[in-house]
Amino acid sequence: MLNQQINSEKPGLVLENLKKNQKNLTTFRLILSCLIGSIIGCLKITGVLGFLIFLLSNILVYLFVGFKIKFKFENYFVSQIQMIFESLITSLFAFLLFWTLIYDYIYVY
């Protein structure tokens, strides 16, 4: 019973499912940012363009998830803002790491 408590603000939503959504989104973001970082490193892209591509990828994530749930973010996440900023910093650092690593491995050394 305790695991399936209904939220007071949003009746009908189960906390476990919200957590699961959040977890899946985090995993998706992390893997995507690692891949994009590696690809950008291979393509010898430097400077602001790399960050722009990262931003673009996150906007794409937002749109993909949005289309999937028909832009009713309140029904699947705590809020829309929370969905946008969920694990953004973590994935940004992962992106930077892979970008730098691959770029240096191929072009600097």
Binding site: Q22, T26, G47, G50, F98, D104, V108
Partner: protein
């Protein structure tokens, strides 16, 4: 400018490798600490306790049927009282969580039953017995453990990097950095005209540390799916108020006896602060599609 490939083999990749492995090792060590011998035996204890209680209850029932005047065991009544109080707390939490689905009248009735200052179940015990949880040393241990396990490996790794790889130019960032940041990112390298995007080993360590944190956490969750979302804590922070109370065990006082008095008081306050709003008041009208029409009429009347 090209860097020496020896640096790549002996500094760049080993750092990534070591930090990754330390991250996963830390996860396992934390798990070792978490699996308290107490926790494992707890289930058995509870089962034994339940069986004992069942036996006692049966015996008591027989005794009572035989002899109505026999008095109850004092200790047992105490236990029963604790259980009753815990049930009351759970009940109150449920009321707070789902109270919006019942009408104002029934909500107030339940609230009165629970929080009435003299007769209410939540206010049965006197507040004098409450122990401040801050003075309870057992509640501080888990926080201390997690803090130590976070800081200690980081400290050791930083000393290691600083000691062995000081003054190395390890990495060139693929993005430009301003020259003002040279002191921070090129710590230990005193070259005046070196481009700021060439960076020392310590900065590379920090980038790897922060970059791999998410990856390590993802992998450790994948390795053991029983560690439920250790990293995905923010949602718990947001929802702490309504959900934490029933999940947590009752506070253990210094004497080692479980004492739910604090919880009773806290729960009572929570319930008194909770503002009730009947969320399905207009459901019939909404189903019929009349709600908006009625509102429109009201607005028209107001306008007139």
């Amino acid at each position: 400018m090209k860097l020496d490939p020896q640096i790549k083999n002996w500094v760049l990749f080993p750092l990534v490798y070591v930090i990754f492995l330390v991250g996963i090792l830390k996860n396992y060590i934390l798990k070792l600490f978490e699996t308290d011998p107490k926790k494992e035996t707890k289930v058995k204890e509870i089962k034994k306790y339940a069986q004992k209680e069942q036996k006692k209850l049966n015996e008591n029932y027989q005794k009572r049927t035989n002899n109505f005047t026999e008095q109850k065991n004092n200790a047992q009544t105490n236990k029963q009282e604790t259980i009753r109080e815990m049930q009351a707390i759970q009940r109150s939490t449920r009321l707070r969580l789902n109270g919006n689905l019942i009408s104002k009248e029934s909500y107030e009735m339940r609230k009165y039953y629970l929080t009435e200052p003299q007769k209410g179940i939540l206010s049965n015990r006197s507040a004098q017995k409450a122990v401040n949880p801050l003075f309870d040393p057992t509640s501080l241990m888990p926080g201390l453990k997690s803090n130590l396990s976070n800081i200690l490996p980081q400290f050791i790794l930083m000393t290691w990097v600083n000691f062995f790889f000081e003054g190395f130019i390890v990495v060139k960032f693929p993005f430009p950095l301003s020259d003002n940041l040279k002191k921070m990112f090129q710590y230990g390298i005193n070259l005046k005209y070196l481009n700021a995007s060439y960076v020392s080993s310590l900065s590379w360590y920090f980038l790897v540390f922060f970059g791999l944190r998410g990856v390590v956490d993802m992998i450790s969750v994948w390795l053991d799916k029983k560690t439920v979302y250790s990293y995905f804590a923010p949602i718990a922070k947001i929802r702490k108020m309504p959900t934490s109370t029933p999940m947590m065990p009752p506070p253990v006082s210094l004497s080692g006896v479980r004492d739910p008095t604090n919880f009773l008081i806290a729960e009572k306050e929570n319930l008194q602060l909770y503002s009730h709003k009947f969320s399905v008041a207009d459901s019939e009208l909404e189903i019929l599609g009349l709600k908006t029409a009625i509102l429109d009429e009201k607005e028209k009347k107001k306008d007139k």
